[in-house]
């Protein structure tokens, strides 16, 4: 499947069979894409100069998902990409974005809910091949019993890419028992005149916070759910369609147990 976008665009794509998808966003085009993924897919994205896009991937696969996303951004292209994954099956994501020309700007935000016994393994890289490029990776995950989360996040700045910036943050909230959380932040930098940073937190919710939430009438499960929402909700900022956003938000609240549906679990 091949999709071309020019001028102003807003589109919703459904991947319901194993496939390859090619997306070309032309010069100065700007818009948003909402891509619902129900099957394994390899996606290649090219953004021409001065184009701008919000692209949100939403996992709706009922089985193990393999997601492979490769993007190339040209001069002054700007992309904000999100991946929201609240499914109970495993996910393996490989994501690589190449900032080919000066001024290219890429931001990634992932939000993953590691339900019981699920494996969420991610390998992401933003490769800077030109100066004055910017990359930002923000990864958030909430883990329940026996979930296995792995995030390898690599900011790679090649020689000669002066004034490039690579930043990354990973926050993992662990709510259950016997979970595994492995976060490997990498900064491979072969140039002096750059800015780079990484930060990560992995931990359980604060007892005082839980008491505070419960003292207002939320059950233990609902309190954990509300804290989880705080981790996952930022990804929805990439959704421009307000009614769809509200729909996803309701689904999110349901999945984290805010309505008490997992009260006994």
């Amino acid at each position: 499947m091949e999709k071309q976008y020019i001028d102003v665009f807003q589109d919703e794509l459904l991947i319901d069979a194993p496939s390859q998808l090619s997306i070309h966003i032309h010069k100065q085009a700007r818009g948003s894409l909402f891509i619902v993924v129900q099957e394994d897919v390899q996606i290649s994205i090219v953004m021409d100069e001065q184009s701008s896009s919000h692209i949100l991937f939403y996992n709706k696969n009922q089985d193990k998902l393999k997601l492979d996303i490769h993007s190339n951004l040209k001069k002054d292209a700007e992309c904000k990409m999100g991946f929201l994954d609240m499914e109970t099956d495993s996910v393996s994501m490989d994501l690589k974005t190449v900032l080919d020309e000066p001024g290219a700007h890429f931001e990634l935000m992932t939000g993953q809910l590691g339900q019981e016994n699920t494996i969420k393994h991610n390998n992401i890289e933003i490769l800077h091949k030109a100066g004055y490029t910017q990359g930002l990776m923000q990864n958030f995950a909430v883990l329940f019993d026996k979930a296995d989360y792995q995030m390898v996040a690599n900011g790679n700045i090649k020689k000669g890419c002066s004034q490039a910036q690579s930043h990354q943050v990973t926050r993992v909230l662990t709510l259950g028992k016997d979970h595994k959380a492995k976060v490997i932040p990498l900064l491979l930098i072969d140039e002096n005149d750059v800015k780079a940073s990484h930060a990560q937190t992995i931990g359980q919710p604060d007892e005082d916070q839980l008491y505070y939430l419960k003292s207002r009438g939320l059950s233990h499960r609902q309190a954990l759910g509300l804290l989880s929402i705080g981790y996952l909700l930022p990804v929805l900022d990439l959704m421009d369609n307000e009614s769809k956003k509200e729909e996803l938000r309701q689904e999110m609240e349901n999945k984290v147990g805010l309505y008490g549906n997992r009260e006994n679990s």
């Binding site: 505070y212 207002r216 939320l218 609902q222 509300l226 705080g230 930022p234």
Partner: protein
């Protein structure tokens, strides 16, 4: 008519007994002022009623309209009608005030509150507390000033409409104008919901605004004297020392001795 009855309450924190047999009864519409020197159990009482897991009830009973409060989880106590406006409210980043409050309201009723009604009630509370309109969209207490946090506690109280509200030094951190605004909001909230109030404060001005119907002084884990406005005035002018003589009690003094300060570990390698 709601009735909160506390009988012979003993509470320990980390194996140290703080409350040593406390009796107190609060009804709807009443305003109880709880005073006493620092470190004698006022906050402990409120936290124990609310069910803070750090506080262990070793003896006695707490009932709300005959129901055993001590058998309830923290959230059940809230749903039963208890509210504690905390001295140090938690900051929770990532959770907006509106999401939090909407979830709390929905947790206590079968049918979710309509968005229109929720926004209307929240706007009313925000206006009454003279807070910035963006409060609903800010993260819960995150980056709030001390005064904003206290006012936000009252916003929550107004939205949750408890039958018994306990306010733990809710006036600390408030300037003179804010104190008046908060007092008026508490007054109106009580009139609208006929709730009982248990107020801990050190400041007579706050009590002047609220005009408590009852006053109690808590010393060394027990209520040693109860009264009305005249007791508040006496404490304000004479302090607590006269109580020790008159009632043969000894107040716990907060440990104000200077302790040695650790500068941390030396990072230099040895050898």
């Amino acid at each position: 008519m709601t009735e909160l009855v506390i009988k012979d309450l003993h509470v320990s924190v980390e194996d140290k007994e703080i409350l040593k047999g406390l009796d107190l009864t609060i009804h709807s519409g009443e305003r109880h002022a709880l005073m006493g020197p620092n470190g004698n159990g006022k906050s402990t009482l409120l936290a124990a009623i609310m069910g803070n897991p750090k506080y262990k009830v070793t003896q006695g009973s707490i009932t709300l309209d005959g129901e055993d409060v001590l058998k309830m989880e923290v959230d059940q106590r809230s749903k039963a009608g208890l509210f504690l406006g905390m001295q140090y409210p938690s900051e929770i980043s990532g959770v907006t005030n509106s999401d939090f409050l909407r979830s709390c309201i929905n947790a206590r009723q079968e049918k979710p509150i309509s968005l229109f009604k929720f926004i209307k009630e929240m706007d009313k509370a925000i206006q009454q507390l003279d807070m910035k309109p963006d409060l609903a969209h800010r993260f819960l207490n995150d980056g709030f000033s001390g005064g904003e946090k206290k006012r936000n506690e009252i916003v929550q109280m107004m939205m949750l409409k408890p039958s018994i509200a306990m306010l733990d030094e809710i006036d600390s951190g408030l300037d003179v104008d804010a104190l008046k605004i908060v007092s008026e909001a508490i007054d109106q909230c009580q009139k609208e919901n006929d709730m009982g109030l248990l107020i801990v404060s050190h400041y007579a001005r706050f009590y002047e605004y609220l005009q408590p119907t009852h006053a109690h002084v808590l010393v060394d884990g027990r209520i040693v004297v109860s009264g009305g406005q005249e007791l508040i005035e006496k404490i304000d002018t004479q302090g607590y020392e006269w109580l020790e003589e008159e009632y043969h009690v000894k107040a716990n003094k907060e440990d104000t001795r200077k302790r040695p300060t650790s500068l941390g570990l030396c990072g230099a390698k040895r050898g």
